[in-house]
């Protein structure tokens, strides 16, 4: 498993780690393939993601993807955040080993679920 430097950076020092107690939306996903799980919290203001935090149980790729996703989503409008793809996450990380691509899926799925949760609660 050869990870890019970018992956290793985000793995060593992940951004936006933790829980948001009064989150506006929460997304929880489990990875049926390898058992990784992730929880994503968002705080929304003026249709923009003002704050975002995550907790991940998973490998370096899962942690780095989670961290990168939160960086990409932070400050974006909900509409724009919805457009973040798993490939975008992987690309920003300088690529992921093919067998680990599902890890960036996990992160984008968690974001989608958090936004769904937010929209359900705030419609």
């Amino acid at each position: 498993m050869i990870y890019s430097n970018k992956v290793l950076e985000h793995f060593k020092n992940p951004k936006n780690v933790g829980e948001i107690k009064d989150a506006d939306g929460i997304g929880e996903v489990g990875n049926p393939i390898c058992g990784d799980t992730m929880t994503l919290y968002i705080k929304v203001k003026d249709k923009r993601i003002k704050d975002i935090k995550f907790q991940t149980f998973g490998c370096a790729a899962a942690i780095a993807s989670s961290s990168m996703l939160t960086e990409l989503a932070k400050g974006k409008t909900i509409a724009d955040a919805k457009k973040i793809t798993r490939d975008a996450v992987a690309d920003e990380l300088g690529g992921l080993p093919p067998i680990k691509m599902h890890c960036s899926n996990l992160a984008t799925d968690a974001l989608k679920k958090a936004i769904d949760d937010y929209e359900r609660k705030h419609k």
Binding site: M1, F11, P14, E19, C34, T39, T56, F57, A62, K100
Partner: protein, 390 residues
């Protein structure tokens, strides 16, 4: 490789001993003959592998001509299992749920081909169910294949007891022992344990990669897998890896010479590491037994709420080399079948780390692991959604 690296992955492979390198070198550039050649270069090469055969035979109480050299542990396992099964034609094969893939996948293939396979359960420390074994052995049972010391969790099976059960129930059943992890760490006597076939690998005992051995009790019928020249008494064709064989024998010799000294040192450091992890880190599970039924070099812990590859990579960043039974780190993303067999839930097995020591492991190295590990575990747990205390 940074000088200060701490290598604790000795069940994956080991550093070649300096004495072994010295023993190998003349066979590269001076005595480089082919043992099949009649001239002096050839005769010297032949004498070298005959000596090596004698050395290896002595370590397990076998006779010289009962040792054949192979390319490694996997080939030894394949020759033993496919060789015996194909020579016998049909029947029952009994093995365990905690075999190395070299045995597991070989037996699986034979099952696909129509052999009747029984896989014995193990208890939560990884010991084979001997009553189940006894009742599984029938008149049609051709082979029992058991891993001596488990490569993941270090559990040592009582091969003497197993050998006696096998032979008293059906003396025509061949008994194969995969001793790749136990060889030169746990005493083996092929006669006492009534073993017919025993697999060994050089690179697990500070010998070179690319060489192994298979003990084949005189009279055991084996179909030959690799065909070609008449090397190794027609049991394994191909020009012999003379330098590798010489190095393997040297490594075995070194380890056997101070057997108790090096196994006692490993046992001490192993137990120190286990005790300190249990003391300093909450929510851990030791996989495998404690005490003298555990391979002297093996420590395996599950760290709840976090994932093995992440622990491994953090340790790696600190220069500490270990391995994991995590699904994420395996090429098929399946969790360890050994950890599943001892009843570990998937999420827990996901966070398992194996530390395997060698004769070169020092007390300082173990102390450093004890210092560094708790911080890493804490840091990763802070990230985890599973950690209740978050």
């Amino acid at each position: 490789m940074a000088k200060k690296s701490i290598y604790l992955d000795n069940s994956a492979t080991t550093r070649v001993a300096d004495e072994v390198v010295a023993a190998i070198l003349p066979y590269f550039t001076e005595n480089y003959g082919n043992p099949s050649s009649l001239h002096e270069f050839g005769r010297n090469a032949k004498a070298a592998i005959d000596n090596a055969r004698k050395t290896i035979a002595k370590t397990i109480n076998a006779r010289d001509e009962e040792i054949i050299f192979t390319s490694g542990g996997t080939e030894s396992d394949n020759i033993a299992i496919f060789g015996a099964a194909k020579a016998r034609g049909a029947g029952r094969i009994i093995t365990t749920k905690i075999e190395h893939p070299a045995v597991k996948n070989t037996v699986k293939e034979l099952e696909n081909e129509g052999f009747d396979v029984v896989r014995l359960d193990v208890d939560k420390e990884g010991f084979v169910n001997l009553e189940q074994l006894e009742s599984a052995i029938t008149d049609t049972t051709i082979l029992v294949s058991i891993i001596h010391a488990n490569n993941e969790i270090g559990t040592i099976q009582d091969i003497e007891k197993i050998g006696n059960i096998v032979k008293s129930k059906n003396p025509n059943t061949y008994f194969h022992v995969d001793s790749v992890q136990s060889y030169t760490k746990i005493p083996i006597d092929v006669d006492a344990a009534k073993v017919d076939l025993l697999s060994m690998a050089s690179h697990k005992i500070h010998g070179p990669k690319g060489v192994g051995a298979l003990y084949v009790r005189d009279g055991t019928r084996l179909s030959t897998l690799q065909l070609g020249g008449p090397q190794e008494k027609n049991k394994r064709a191909g020009t012999e890896n003379v330098p590798g064989i010489v190095g393997f024998a040297k490594a075995a010799e070194i380890n056997m010479a101070d057997f108790y000294k090096h196994t006692e040192k490993m046992t001490h450091l192993r137990d120190k590491l286990i005790a300190n992890i249990e003391e300093k880190i909450p929510d851990v599970i030791l996989n495998g037994p404690k005490g003298d039924k555990r391979n002297p070099n093996n420590v395996n812990f599950s760290f709840k709420y976090i994932e093995g590859e992440s622990i491994l990579l953090h340790l790696d960043l600190e220069g500490i080399a270990v391995s994991t039974g995590s699904a994420c780190s395996s090429k098929n993303l399946k969790p360890s079948h050994v950890l599943a067999a001892i009843g570990l839930p998937v999420d827990v097995s996901h966070g398992s780390i194996r530390f395997t020591l060698s004769r070169y492991t020092t007390e300082e190295e173990i102390n450093q692991v004890i210092n560094i590990l708790p911080g890493i575990i804490e840091k990763l747990r802070a990230l985890s959604p599973l950690n209740k205390s978050n």
